[in-house]
């Protein structure tokens, strides 16, 4: 079972060096224990572009699709047996990256 583990941020800063180191060490462990599928940090929401090509021609809009105080700063995709395991991993992830985390199952 795969879970999207999203990092929620409300400050406009990337991870500091200490946080980066903790995240890297955590990622090494995720790989060793077979939970790692993917992980990555994201640039600021202001760098986003929204595309809508459902009509006659593609339309591009500057900025994120939803403006909010809190935004997606990065993500993991993790393999876990069930939600309990995913929550345990996410609780650790929150500690290491020093941010709030949302866990959501893939269909």
């Amino acid at each position: 079972m795969q879970y999207l583990v999203s990092v929620i941020d409300d400050t406009a800063g990337s991870a500091n060096p200490e946080e980066m180191a903790a995240i890297s060490a955590f990622n090494v462990r995720l790989k060793a224990e077979g939970h790692w599928v993917f992980a990555g940090g994201l640039a600021a929401p202001s760098s986003a572009t929204v595309i809508d090509n459902r009509g006659e021609e593609a339309r591009f809009t500057d900025g994120p699709f939803v403006e909010s105080k809190e935004y997606l700063a990065g993500l993991w995709v993790m393999d876990a047996a069930d939600l309990d395991e995913a929550l345990r991993l996410a609780a650790e992830a929150s500690k290491h990256c020093n941010r709030k985390i949302e866990v959501r199952p893939f269909l």
């Binding site: 079972m1 047996a81 069930d82 939600l83 309990d84 929550l87 345990r88 866990v103 959501r104 199952p105 269909l107």
Partner: protein
């Protein structure tokens, strides 16, 4: 067997077997929704069949077998129009559970229904439906919420359990203490809603809810006899429930602990509660630190040990509150401690302690009610009246409002 006997047998089977039937079907079919529906159908079949066929020798086994057949029927029906996915469940049929594991089976169900990833109100509704076997209309009535709302809460919770794969098992040892306390929080919420029912036009004490909470806590106690906080919560509920009839007067007014007719307290419940508290005290003496429910139960044991309010060992009560404050430094605990302090050090000292809580408790009726009483005892009638006014405005329980109003109107 008379019609009344059969009806009683069905009621008893529902009380004793519902959770086991739902739990074992959930285990077998991996789906709470199927388990719930099949269990309900099995009981409906019993209502139709038992009056004519007689009560089966083992009602629990009959109900589980009947419910399993209903579940398989439903899965086959759905498979005719759905994919083959569900058929797999029938093929990978688990061997029947050994009898000794049935206790664990209900525990799994409880832990799943009280999972921390579900909203508190969903946990409450789900636990009352799946474990206690209350119907949706019964839960809706108990919480004064529309049936559709309760139905939606349960449906959404079941969908999340499925989609997010909330596991159907007793949590691992490292998660267990936190998860048990989550289960106890659900049960205590149900109990408190019964004990301090809110809303105009409701009975001030909803015995159906307090009784259900006690029944479920007894079940968990039977399943986890070593857990101190489970024992503590059961003792706490019993010692509060023992005073139920004394707590509301004939005209529907709250009767405070000091004014209650202690002769009407339920001696059997108090004895059982005291036994549990003594059991935990023995364990605590051996070095295990008691949790908050055990300390709250001990406080209630001190109160229920006094034949007259003047015999109350208030220094013991304050000492227990001191212990509780170290564990849970919440302003509500500090407020309750101040009430006990008033009996030893007088209302002036207590009022100073209460006033320090203003910032945190200004929206809480008991803060104003406590202040009002202390100000009254200090002869500061004008300030007392203002505090009573505020307490009455904020109180939701009809018996409490009636009591506060009378006390206010008696001020000189």
């Amino acid at each position: 067997m008379s019609v009344a006997d059969v009806r009683e047998a069905i009621t008893q089977a529902h009380r004793e077997e519902w959770a086991t039937v739902v739990a074992s079907l959930t285990r077998r079919f991996g789906d709470l929704d199927i388990a719930e529906e099949a269990a309900a159908e099995a009981f409906a079949t019993a209502v139709r069949r038992w009056p004519a066929d007689g009560v089966p020798p083992s009602p629990g086994a009959w109900l589980t077998t009947t419910a399993s057949r209903k579940a398989i029927d439903r899965i086959r029906r759905e498979n005719k129009r759905d994919d083959k996915q569900k058929e797999a469940r029938l093929l990978h049929d688990d061997p029947p559970e050994p009898l000794g594991a049935i206790g664990d089976e209900r525990l799994r169900l409880i832990f799943t229904c009280c999972h921390p990833a579900l909203a508190m109100e969903a946990r409450v509704a789900l636990t009352l439906r799946m474990v206690a076997g209350l119907t949706v209309p019964e839960i809706a009535r108990a919480f004064l919420v529309r049936e559709t709302t309760i139905g939606q809460r349960i449906t959404r919770a079941k969908a999340k359990i499925k989609a997010a794969r909330i596991p159907y098992r007793v949590p691992s040892a490292e998660d267990l203490p936190a998860r048990v306390s989550g289960v106890l929080a659900v049960l205590f919420l149900v109990f408190n809603e019964g004990y301090l029912a809110t809303g105009p036009g409701t009975d001030p004490v909803r015995h159906d809810l307090t009784a259900e909470a006690i029944r479920l806590t007894r079940l968990i106690r039977a399943l986890m006899p070593q857990d101190g906080e489970v024992a503590g919560l059961l003792a706490l509920m019993l010692l509060i429930e023992a005073r139920r009839t004394a707590r509301v007067s004939a005209i529907g007014e709250l009767v405070t602990l000091a004014e209650q007719d202690r002769g009407t307290w339920d001696g059997a419940l108090i004895a059982e509660g005291h036994r549990l508290v003594r059991e935990r005290l023995a364990v605590a003496a051996a070095g295990a630190a008691p949790g908050r429910y055990q300390i709250l139960a001990a406080i209630n044991a001190v109160h229920t040990s006094a034949r007259d309010v003047r015999d109350t060992d208030w220094s013991q009560v304050v000492a227990l509150y001191d212990q509780l404050v170290r564990l849970d430094p919440s302003p509500i605990i500090a407020l309750n401690r101040a009430v006990a302090v008033a009996e030893i050090d007088g209302p002036e000292v207590a009022l100073a302690a209460v006033d320090r809580l203003e910032f945190k408790l200004v929206g809480y009726h008991a803060y104003h009610a406590t202040r009002a009483d202390l100000l009254r005892r200090l002869g500061r009638s004008h300030e007392s009246r203002t505090a009573y006014d505020r307490a009455i405005e904020l109180a939701g329980n009809t018996a409490e409002t009636a009591y506060l109003t009378r006390r206010r109107d008696q001020l000189g």
